[in-house]
């Protein structure tokens, strides 16, 4: 187990601030902080770096989403980073998220003792990023109609849509690439081509699993729970309830708004952890805290925020359950097959591009249900 841990924030005015440290007697100087920070800036692709400075052997963790923050673990003389990589990454993620969301709840010694951790960002969370970046969501829509398109052409289209020349296609397309929705390849000598491989649908599903489990684990609350969920999805007329499949061309429609809302829920790691826990069954705050190893006040805050987003509901005294289950579902974009055929016959794309697209679709979906 690391000998010490400290959390550093680079404030634009005050410079390096050691926000938390354990043990309290642990001291370090500005030079050490500078060199750890420099290591990360030098090699910005990696979020975990190992540095030997003065008498310290430091493994430091950063996350691009929280610029200027570092969680540093001081390793003992016998400890090797490789054997500790996984727990350090998990603890680093947890400490950083807690420092951003609820710094007063961070107890480094507890986290270190229990090796509490936060999972790496999952697929659902990556998908959520697409809907949280308006230009990326716009690009996905474009790809749904085009299927395959030259990157240069998309770049021109995008500049026209967002009314600025400074928009960078690589940045806009990144959430789509990271989540595997599109692939960019150079076909021929120089033609950079964007292929749509998966389509994405974000919606709220009824929490079927939790409702079923509630009948066993909290039978006295099961009926009330089911009633609350039913009330949300299919309330008695004239209320319409929730139906994300109603087609809407208006970008300001409630369905679009709600899609952004659930994407935001999924993108916040602490809330997502709590939500994930409740997918199984209704639980009390204490039980969630035990399962997730998050501080109880963090769990309570997350539950309240999720409640205001109509994701959780308190179904009994201190017992919480999912009211709706935010889901990001990908599916095979079969509708683009005739588009590819049409583009090929109109010579908008060459046979090499069409063939490659079919190959990529086949690779992406073969073996999947």
């Amino acid at each position: 187990m690391p000998e010490a841990v400290f959390v550093v924030h680079l404030d634009d005015y005050q410079g390096f601030i050691v926000e938390k440290r354990y043990p309290a007697s642990f001291t370090l100087n500005e030079k050490v902080l500078n060199l750890i920070f420099y290591e990360h800036e030098k090699e910005s692709k990696e979020n975990l770096r190992y540095t030997e400075i003065e008498s310290f052997r430091v493994a430091s963790f950063v996350d691009k989403a929280h610029h200027g923050w570092m969680v540093c673990f001081v390793l003992g003389p016998e400890e090797q980073l490789e054997s500790l990589r996984r727990p350090i990454l998990g603890m680093g993620r947890l400490i950083l998220e807690l420092m951003i969301e609820a710094p007063e709840t961070v107890r480094l010694e507890h986290i270190l003792e229990r090796q509490s951790s936060l999972d790496e960002i999952g697929e659902e969370q990556k998908y959520a990023q697409v809907f949280l970046t308006p230009s990326s969501a716009l690009l996905l829509e474009k790809m749904e109609s085009e299927g395959v398109e030259k990157a240069a052409k998309i770049s021109i289209w995008l500049k026209g849509q967002v009314q600025t020349d400074s928009v960078d296609l690589r940045e806009v397309i990144k959430p789509l690439m990271d989540s595997g929705l599109v692939k960019v390849e150079v076909i021929g000598k120089t033609t950079e081509t964007v292929f749509l491989l998966r389509d994405l649908f974000g919606y709220r599903a009824p929490p079927v699993k939790a409702i079923t489990k509630a009948k066993e684990s909290v039978p006295q609350l099961a009926a009330k729970y089911l009633e609350q969920v039913t009330q949300f999805f299919t309330p008695p007329p004239p209320s319409k309830g929730y139906n994300p499949t109603i087609p809407s061309d208006d970008p300001n429609s409630p369905v679009f708004e709600d899609r952004e809302r659930i994407s935001r829920v999924l993108s916040k790691s602490l809330r997502y952890t709590v939500l994930n826990c409740l997918r199984e069954e209704p639980l009390t705050t204490r039980q969630i805290a035990d399962k997730t190893e998050l501080p109880e006040e963090v769990v309570q805050n997350a539950l309240s925020t999720l409640q205001s987003d109509h994701v959780t509901a308190e179904i009994g005294e201190g017992t919480w359950a999912l009211l709706t289950d935010p889901v990001m579902e990908t599916f095979m974009p079969e509708f683009i097959l005739p588009v590819i055929a049409k583009k090929l016959s109109a010579k908008e794309i060459g046979p090499d591009i069409a063939r490659r697209h079919l190959e990529l679709l086949s690779e992406a979906w073969s073996g999947r249900k």
């Binding site: 634009d12 005015y13 005050q14 410079g15 390096f16 500005e30 030079k31 902080l33 500078n34 060199l35 920070f37 420099y38 800036e41 030098k42």
Partner: protein
Amino acid sequence: MIRSIYILGPQSNMVYSKEYAKSDSRETLVEFLVNLAHFLGSVDLESKTEYMSFSTARIFYTVRRDFTFIFMADKADDAAQIEERMGQLVTTFVKDFAPLADANLPLDGFDAKVDEIAVTMVKVAILGYAGVGKTTTLHLLRGETLPLVHDPTIGVSIKKLPDEVQNANIVLWDLAGQSRFSILWAKMIANAQVVIIVTDSTLENVLRSKKLVSLVKEEVPEAKVIGIANKQDLPTALTPERVGQILSIPTYELVAIDISYRDRLIQIIRRAILEGKAETKAS
């Protein structure tokens, strides 16, 4: 920058005062403020804050309960910002300290609250290639003894200017000049109000430093950029005018190892902060 704060009581008596900038005519000013408070007692400001210009300063005033609150600030300051701070101070005073003032008791803890509200933080970044005298300039500004051995800065060294310079906490960011640290420069100058580009006044270094000017203008376009033609005591030094022409920024002479330059340099920084504010306001 907020120069001074005064709170006058129901009888136009001075309940609290704090002066961040020295004033040669304090007595006259206090007399004026007492008269102002007396006059304000006869009009209804409806809890609004108003201001009037007074030479290079601006006087902000408001009345709450029977207390008159007066802030003196620079003309270049953003009026909305000063009003916001004044609002914070008034709320704090009325909530926690007015009963003490009513009872003629000492306002324990109020001074710290005033500092919290009135003192601003100003970031001044010192940028330049290795060995041009950035850290020496930092020592000069802080009035410190110069080290005998050259110890290159690692990353960034952050120090405050001693309190005597106004109520602004001027934080100096001395950035390492070695080329390996150049990857940090763009990030380290973020949010700087003033960037000082230090050159050693040799033609080669000044020409190289043009890149730094471009970097600063791209990364912090709102910052005030000034050049320093250091090492003017050396025979090979270009004149500050020539350095300024090459860099296309206002440039000032310096011999960082000579303590007599300290006050002048502080004045230059102060002026740059004020000019920067005025330009931001005008744009």
